[in-house]
Subunit: 276 residues, 4 copies
Amino acid sequence: MNLPDVQSQPDLRQIPIPAVGIAPVEVPIRFGDGRAPASASVGLFTDLAPDVKGTHMSRMVELIMAWRREPVTAATLFALLDETRSRLGARTARVSVAFRHFVEKGAPVTGKAALVPYDVELLAGVEDDERQLGWRLGAVVTTLCPCSEAISDYGAHNQRGTLSVATAFRDTRELPLVDGFLEQLEQLGSCPLYTLLKRPDEKWVTEAAYRTPKFVEDVLRDAVLWLQAQPEIGWFAVKVSNDESIHPHNAVAYYDRALVDPQWTRPALFWWDHRL
Amino acid sequence: MNLPDVQSQPDLRQIPIPAVGIAPVEVPIRFGDGRAPASASVGLFTDLAPDVKGTHMSRMVELIMAWRREPVTAATLFALLDETRSRLGARTARVSVAFRHFVEKGAPVTGKAALVPYDVELLAGVEDDERQLGWRLGAVVTTLCPCSEAISDYGAHNQRGTLSVATAFRDTRELPLVDGFLEQLEQLGSCPLYTLLKRPDEKWVTEAAYRTPKFVEDVLRDAVLWLQAQPEIGWFAVKVSNDESIHPHNAVAYYDRALVDPQWTRPALFWWDHRL
Amino acid sequence: MNLPDVQSQPDLRQIPIPAVGIAPVEVPIRFGDGRAPASASVGLFTDLAPDVKGTHMSRMVELIMAWRREPVTAATLFALLDETRSRLGARTARVSVAFRHFVEKGAPVTGKAALVPYDVELLAGVEDDERQLGWRLGAVVTTLCPCSEAISDYGAHNQRGTLSVATAFRDTRELPLVDGFLEQLEQLGSCPLYTLLKRPDEKWVTEAAYRTPKFVEDVLRDAVLWLQAQPEIGWFAVKVSNDESIHPHNAVAYYDRALVDPQWTRPALFWWDHRL
Amino acid sequence: MNLPDVQSQPDLRQIPIPAVGIAPVEVPIRFGDGRAPASASVGLFTDLAPDVKGTHMSRMVELIMAWRREPVTAATLFALLDETRSRLGARTARVSVAFRHFVEKGAPVTGKAALVPYDVELLAGVEDDERQLGWRLGAVVTTLCPCSEAISDYGAHNQRGTLSVATAFRDTRELPLVDGFLEQLEQLGSCPLYTLLKRPDEKWVTEAAYRTPKFVEDVLRDAVLWLQAQPEIGWFAVKVSNDESIHPHNAVAYYDRALVDPQWTRPALFWWDHRL
């Protein structure tokens, strides 16, 4: 059976396509460190030359299905991208891998351990000889309002706040350990969240938050200070969003290194920010 | 052009279908009280006899498009259902109309007014001579943890909690005023939410919540007590879900009058609970 | 440090609570069959006596964290529920475990294999001596419209349809194999979906769907016939929802065995349908 | 009562914040053209100087509540932004207004009319003397696969595709008419969607899609050609995402004028793309 290859037909419109591909492709992924596999959502994209009608998406599926058997590392992410470019005849390739990441955390007083879930998205892109590598991390924290505390005779409103950080790494050969990053980030709220807290722990987190009131602006700035001090981090952006317990809307603060310092640019090869 | 009516063909499987229809059909709706129109999501369903292959969904679209020009009342909801049965040759019809409802609320001290949004879903169903009418309302409130307050030297964790109530009315001739219901319900948390709060208001709500600590169980029970005391309400269910500010998961409590008191049954003609 | 146990205080409102607990608690879970672990969302609930102020949710976290190390089976689900009742002094307990399930499926012509993701939710409940066990499965299928095919000179509109099935098992000692169920269910659309299709496979699925036109009503009825024929299944409900490719809204059909045949009742101990 | 103004305290970290504010603030909005009001989600943000601890979010609520009484136009959006800068002492302000937009559309053969819903988000920003104005529009269309059609003896898989377009306008004094834009955009799929189709219409759309097969790449390129030809449009980005009816994942294509032509830059004052 000889079936025509419609995708390979010439295209006369002469419009180059920066990114075309498939998402979300859901697969279990595994890590090299004995950590439990995770269910991941993968996006894989290449550019398409102006004179070609369509890409071959089934090849991308094959590439993801082979890749997911390897441990997830910077090396295997870039190997996937290079093989994708080669199989698709592309100059550019982008991949994102989003999953739930679990960290075992001991309660602050009793030390009782339980898993805390975090959202992690790995991001990598290649164009000619350029390589970009980074991630998007989300840590949920307690935030306690400094204004509410200062003006009230007792109590202070507090709530869940989400601290989201996206970074590009200067060195693309290795991904830093995500657990260490998350541990640092969640210290920047009024108090970290815990899945398991017994009564002495609940007393501890309640009082710790009350002693550490922070606006979204405070969490954002402390995150910026910490991120600026990490030598391995190049570009980064931070968003803090508080699910205000006294309002039906959220308080949000945003920082993008590229908006503030012309030395930095947003990584154009990360897929995550191409959402409309 | 004579096009075959495939839907009207006989069906040999002899399986009656309790509900078949269309959702979400998005339309602007209007009210009779001068209130601003809202963007609504409508679901419309009928039963289908065991010997008919398919229903005629385009008629349902026409019915919704005509209905949405009328003010939304119990009478127009049931008129829609009766006409739907008639046009589709059905014995049963169900409708749900979900929209964002706005109430102007003054801040507790300064009195400054702003709109607060609520989720409302109207529910109506008919089967033979039986009529069922009710709604699902969601009020977001502050909840402050009694345990945290009792064990801590200062402060207490608090957060957004969602109080969801579904009710069936004894009398199906008229929908009660939704604003009055919402006003009562949101008194049952530790404090209502406000869109606009100036500093004296923020002090007030912070202290009010601290003086009114409530578990999800407390909010649930107070809602049950209040709902039991309303003579117009028959069956009801309540769910309270706290976005715990110290945990990544929620605390949830649920009450269904039909689970506790055999005198009541869940309204089988409401579409909302047929979700899988 | 002697911290008061506020939850154990007496409650004077005398309102029994059918279900109170925590959700979603996210944890990795594992299976006994060598299958890759999955990231799961767990809900765990007990009843609460009318004279007790609050439940002890931190115990539920501890129970989930211990349970998730065991392989997921009917036996370990009920062991979790029994221990939960014991630790919380409850008469009733409910658990739900939702996760992404992967099945390796070969393409219909080339046989090339790739993983297909499915949504699965395990459901179990106990009350006194009664045990209920079941699941909610979601299979996404192609549906092709019989009317469009019959009236058009060429082509027929088709789309993704979601076939959702909830079942209670007559025998609560063992969970049937989920893969076999999913394989049967997805035969009931116009054609199953595949993650990987090469050109000969794409030709095959296109033509298979065109030869098997089905309304939502057809998929629903075929699912009902199949489910009725399974001796291990008691109560069940089915929903089919088509993401109509010619409309902005969906076509939906629903069947609940309890609505059609008084011999069956909805399992009151499943948590999933207590959503408001 | 003299309550301290914590937000106005000095901040020693010296980190300027590009955007801080509130979202989503839900309000009904109205238009000047007799069109029905809509329920909108508003985000409002300003920059914050490096030496100030926090912004005053309650002023932003007041500004939104006053603004929403005016008809939504370019002039009232910029008046809101200018007043926001003035009230908050800011150099920069950004606003986004997302709502459901309804267009009455006649079926292609019978001409029967019904409303079709679209997602619209208005975007405006000011910094010093610079003004940026644009929108994000989403049109859902039918897409029919050219490969499936070419290789199959009969039929062709088709599905819902979402065509999302974000644009910045060269002239910020007036917003173009959104209806005309949507009408043009949805011509770029294999066929537009309709809420209401009678049998002759369904035949028409089925055959029209079959005669107009398009990959995501085709829809994207046709959108790019059309957008390039509009003199009022400066920067734009387009995303097409197909809910593939034969796969569980989507096919996605993306174009950003700034990625392809160095003459253009992404509008840094639009809030929508600052999502992490």
